[in-house]
């Protein structure tokens, strides 16, 4: 699943609206901090952005169905409709379903990519383990030397 998570947000399936950079940052912030208003989000962003820009972004995310909102003292409070995991599962599921729904070679291509990615991860793990063994062997050898 790490392979799927690394897919850029722009490459999500057509049924799931793609997220821009600012939208993804705002979603991250809301998943981290929970329910917030526009002012809170502006304060917590790492770069200075106009209040109206953030407001428009939050409104767009609400219209895409990613956020819920409720009114509190003349301001909207926004909260994520799904947890980060639910959202990522949804995205990965729709991506895979979209790919497998295509012509036969597309499905096979996806499976072969997944197998390759898992294989590469296995290779990396085995490299790491071999490195640990080499280090331990060296340590043992040095300990035995008078």
């Amino acid at each position: 699943m790490r392979f799927l998570k690394s897919i850029p947000v722009e490459q999500t399936s057509p049924s799931q609206p793609p997220l821009g950079h600012l939208e993804a940052t705002v979603m991250d912030l809301l998943w981290e901090r929970g329910e917030s208003n526009v002012h809170d989000v502006v304060q917590r962003l790492h770069r200075p952005l106009a209040y109206t820009t953030v407001m428009t972004t939050l409104d767009r995310l609400f219209k895409k169905g990613l956020l819920d909102r409720r009114k509190s003292a003349r301001a909207f409070l926004y909260s994520p409709r799904w947890s980060r995991m639910e959202w990522e599962q949804k995205r990965a599921g729709e991506f895979v379903a979209g790919f497998l729904a295509g012509p036969q070679p597309a499905g096979e291509l996806l499976i072969s990519c997944l197998v390759d990615a898992v294989g590469q991860q296995d290779e990396a793990l085995l490299d790491e383990l071999e490195k640990k063994i080499r280090l331990k062997r060296k340590e043992l050898y040095q300990r035995r030397k008078p």
């Binding site: 296995d122 793990l125 085995l126 383990l129 071999e130 640990k132 063994i133 331990k136 062997r137 043992l140």
Partner: protein
């Protein structure tokens, strides 16, 4: 002895087995996470024994209750001429008892059949040879997959593919063979069969998968420790052998009653880490300690049997059966 008398005995035995097994299974289900945590702090060999004992305890104790207490009390105290109707609760529990036993026996027989077919396939395609100073023969297979496994429930045979033999150094091969011999010594394939035979809590809910996985994991660790034999160099050699075999690619999943060196690939990292951070095992309990613990076990067993044979216990058991049949 009439047919209805025996039918009632059968119904009551199955129903009481199911109810006792269900109650003990529910207790074990709650205790399992704690037992798994405790097992992580014990020596793997001891942990494997504890987890297996716990897994088999509900079915074993239920069988003991039925065969050693409830059935004798029925045979002793139930009048032969009595024609008591069987209540629907008893019938339902008996049906569930039959279902859990049928499912577990079917599962065990199917697994045994697969294991037998696998052994026959090995017999046809492999040739017997002696490797790495091993006293017992090893079956060498010309298979493209990296196979290292112990097949056979009662008489185990070590099967290895030439690919593995060629890839490992003599020292690594000896470590791998010692690991498999450890499984053979502790009769792990037979224990797997017992686990399959032990009924679950409900017909389609075994409920002990975490406990079974934890047992399989510590059984691997125990075999690793046996192969390392308290020596850090051997431990390192086995770790290197595991990584080397993993590099050869994935082997097809073996039948349930076959122990494979790389059966649980996910655990490879944890196993290698354990072997690298090898700490010589604490001294095993001495002969006197083992004799004492064995003696205590026998004494406890004798006490239980004596208690079960008491007329008052048998009468209480019969009252339970009377309540169950209504």
């Amino acid at each position: 002895m009439t047919g209805s008398y025996l039918f009632r005995l059968l119904c009551l035995s199955m129903a009481s087995f199911f109810l006792v097994d269900l109650a003990l299974g529910a207790v074990l289900f709650l205790l399992a996470p704690g037992a798994i945590r405790l097992s992580e702090r014990l020596r793997p060999q001891l942990a494997a024994r504890l987890l297996l004992l716990l897994r088999l305890a509900p079915a074993g104790l239920s069988l003991l209750m039925v065969a050693g207490l409830l059935a004798p009390s029925y045979l002793w105290l139930e009048p032969r001429a009595a024609t008591e109707p069987i209540g629907w609760v008893c019938l339902a529990a008996a049906a569930l008892g039959v279902a859990v036993w049928s499912l577990s026996i079917t599962r065990a027989l199917r697994a045994a059949g697969r294991s037998l077919r696998h052994i026959r396939h090995c017999q046809r395609t492999a040739r017997k040879t002696w490797l790495g100073g091993e006293a017992a023969p090893v079956w060498l297979m010309e298979d493209p997959a990296p196979l290292v496994m112990l097949a056979g429930v009662l008489r185990s045979r070590l099967v290895i593919s030439r690919k593995v033999v060629s890839a490992l150094s003599a020292e690594q091969l000896a470590a791998v063979l010692r690991h498999e011999r450890a499984h053979s010594r502790s009769r792990d394939n037979f224990k797997r069969l017992l686990v399959l035979l032990a009924p679950g809590v409900l017909p389609f809910f075994r409920g002990f998968s975490r406990l079974e996985q934890a047992w399989a994991r510590v059984a691997e660790w125990a075999a690793d420790d046996f192969a390392a034999a308290g020596d850090s160099h051997r431990s390192l050699t086995l770790a290197a052998a595991l990584v080397r075999v993993a590099r050869l690619g994935a082997a097809p999943p073996p039948p349930v009653l076959v122990t494979s060196l790389m059966a649980n690939g996910i655990d490879l990292s944890a196993r290698v880490d354990r072997l690298l951070h090898f700490v010589p095992a604490a001294a095993k309990p001495g002969r006197i300690a083992r004799l004492l613990s064995g003696g205590a076990g026998v004494l406890m067993g004798a006490c239980v049997i004596a208690l079960m044979a008491q007329p008052v216990t048998l009468r209480a058991a019969h009252e339970f059966l009377e309540a169950l049949i209504r």
